[in-house]
Amino acid sequence: MEKILMKGNEAVAEAAMRAGCRLYFAYPITPQSELIEYMAKVMPKVGGTFLQAESEVAAINMVYGAAGSGKRVMTSSSSPGISLKQEGISYIAGAELPAVIVNVQRGGPGLGDIQPSQADYFQATKGGGHGDYRLIVLAPSSVQEFADMASEAFDLADKYRNPVLILADGMLGQMMEPVEFKPIMTQEEIDELGKQHTSWCICPNADGDAKHHHEINSLELDPSVLEKHVLQMYEKYAVIEKNEQRSEIFNVSDDNEVLCVAFGTASRIVKSAINELKKEGKSVGLVRPIRVWPYPYAAVAAAIGPKVKQVYVFELNTGQMLDDVKIAVCGKAPVNFWGKVGGIVFTPAEIQAKLEACF
């Protein structure tokens, strides 16, 4: 398949459609508007449903309904809109429904601005909504990866019956890079996928089974029953933590004197700085969590080489992933942090200067 030059927002929409998503509900917000606009164009062409909801609150509840009906469904928004969706996301997690949510993050708090940010890391990985639950959180760093993560997200959501969040940002949404797509899933394949949910989802009682009664629900007033349900969910999360950690290592070797940790957009910029430092004969490695929940603690720990004097975390926030890195490093090296906030993205030159100061 040929490469197409596309914005991240458009690429993830196209990829979701190709991965069998035929239901999409959302509300416009910058900088993810190209995503909803792309879906408005493409969904009618493939017989899918595009619906611009009256609000993010309505959109996520439409997702709840569609996911409860066992279909591949997606919504997307940007930071303030994702905050509005949190109640619904908690319901989806509590009811153990598969759904995909895309957050094209922008500067906050409040209405903030519309520039790229990573300030929703806590919200994405530590809860966001109320109650004990987890989202699987994928953190792309290129347009290609953003697109690839659409099908990955649906597969994970189906496999674990859990909402999956793709944590992108304004830069990934707005930038264009060449992207290659997987083939469009056929209707037969989509129908086949849907069958894995027919034992529990809202669906017609085709066999006229007298016992057919499926409930989509997150309410359980009996504490002992709710406790059992939550603990079962946590058993599931333990399996996810064991099997689903993903990370990339870049220039990691025993020569490293500094080990960087960065995800998403920030990691791209750190890579540029590392390339420049290489020319100066300075050895710096990078661990990039590809998924930020479950967090790749083991990979970060393993990348700390014998000469590493310092672990340096770079984020477009005030240090939200820093806590996870500290858990991973576990006192083996000092952990330093530098971040930019308010929608300002650091430049390769700035990161280079920060790293040079470590030598």
Binding site: P28, T30, E37, A40, K41, L51, Q52
Partner: protein, 251 residues
């Protein structure tokens, strides 16, 4: 020589961030002038929405709050209840007021909150780049109704004045146009009346402005007014729906 028309003191010196020919500026001026003329500059507070007019708090030269999307009537309710001696209004676009904020506007109106709501209807989402609004006309193409608004799928545009007119509590409801100098002069009278009612704490007052979006409609500012006259006014008919003040005078 005497200055007979100029920028009112109730507007700051900050230039509007709207696109060339966007009529938000006209609505701003009418409200600002009416507040100045009513002598309310020190007792008035406004609430800015999310959307193109999100920066309205920078343009009005009195206290302003900026609300989360659609929640301006709730924020204004809180302000008015906390400080009954203040006079409050909200300024909202069609996405903010008639989509995500439908619940807030209906319930603020239904409670008869003593506030004014200025609602600008241009049938599109401007700030985010031309998506379909709850007031987008049938068959009208936008970036999220690329094949035209299909009323069988997404429903008809919402007529907010008519909707609010079903409630008992509202004190004043009117739809005006900003599409010609004559319409603007007429609209000014309505705005002044509403601000006067607001000053007297009469009740919930509501004005809808039929406006344009030259940028997202892709029509130049002058022609976009003609387009709106031809296409919007038949569906969103200007007129007075409710004026309890006039009824009181009669009886």
């Amino acid at each position: 020589m005497e200055v007979i028309a100029k920028r009112p003191e109730t507007l700051t010196k900050t230039p509007f961030t709207y696109c060339p020919g966007c009529l938000h500026g006209v609505a701003h001026r009418l409200i600002a002038e009416a507040i100045e003329e009513a002598g309310l500059i020190n007792q008035m507070a406004g609430v800015a929405p999310v959307g193109c007019s999100v920066f309205a708090y920078k343009f009005f030269n009195f206290d302003m709050a900026q609300a989360a999307h659609g929640r301006a009537p709730a924020v204004a309710t809180g302000m008015k209840r906390a400080r009954p001696d203040m006079h409050v209004f909200t300024y909202q676009g069609d996405g903010d007021l008639a989509a995500i904020g439908t619940a807030e506007i209906v319930h603020a109106a239904n409670r008869g909150e003593k506030m004014s709501v200025f609602f600008v209807n241009n049938a599109i989402y401007g700030m985010t780049g031309g998506q379909m609004a709850p007031t987008t006309l049938p068959n009208m193409k936008t970036t999220t109704s690329p094949y035209g608004r299909n009323v069988d799928d997404i429903g008809y545009p919402i007529r907010v004045c008519e909707l609010l007119d079903t409630l008992v509590a509202p004190y004043y409801i009117e739809r005006v146009s900003l599409l010609s100098p004559a319409d603007i002069i007429k609209a000014k009278k309505s705005v002044s009346k509403v601000i006067q009612y607001n000053k007297e704490n009469r009740g919930f007052t509501f004005i809808e402005f039929v406006s344009t979006c030259p940028t997202n409609w892709g029509i130049d500012p002058v022609k976009s007014r003609d387009w709106a006259k031809e296409n919007m006014l038949p569906f969103f008919k200007p007129g007075l729906f409710r004026d309890k003040g006039a009824e009181e005078v009669k009886s």
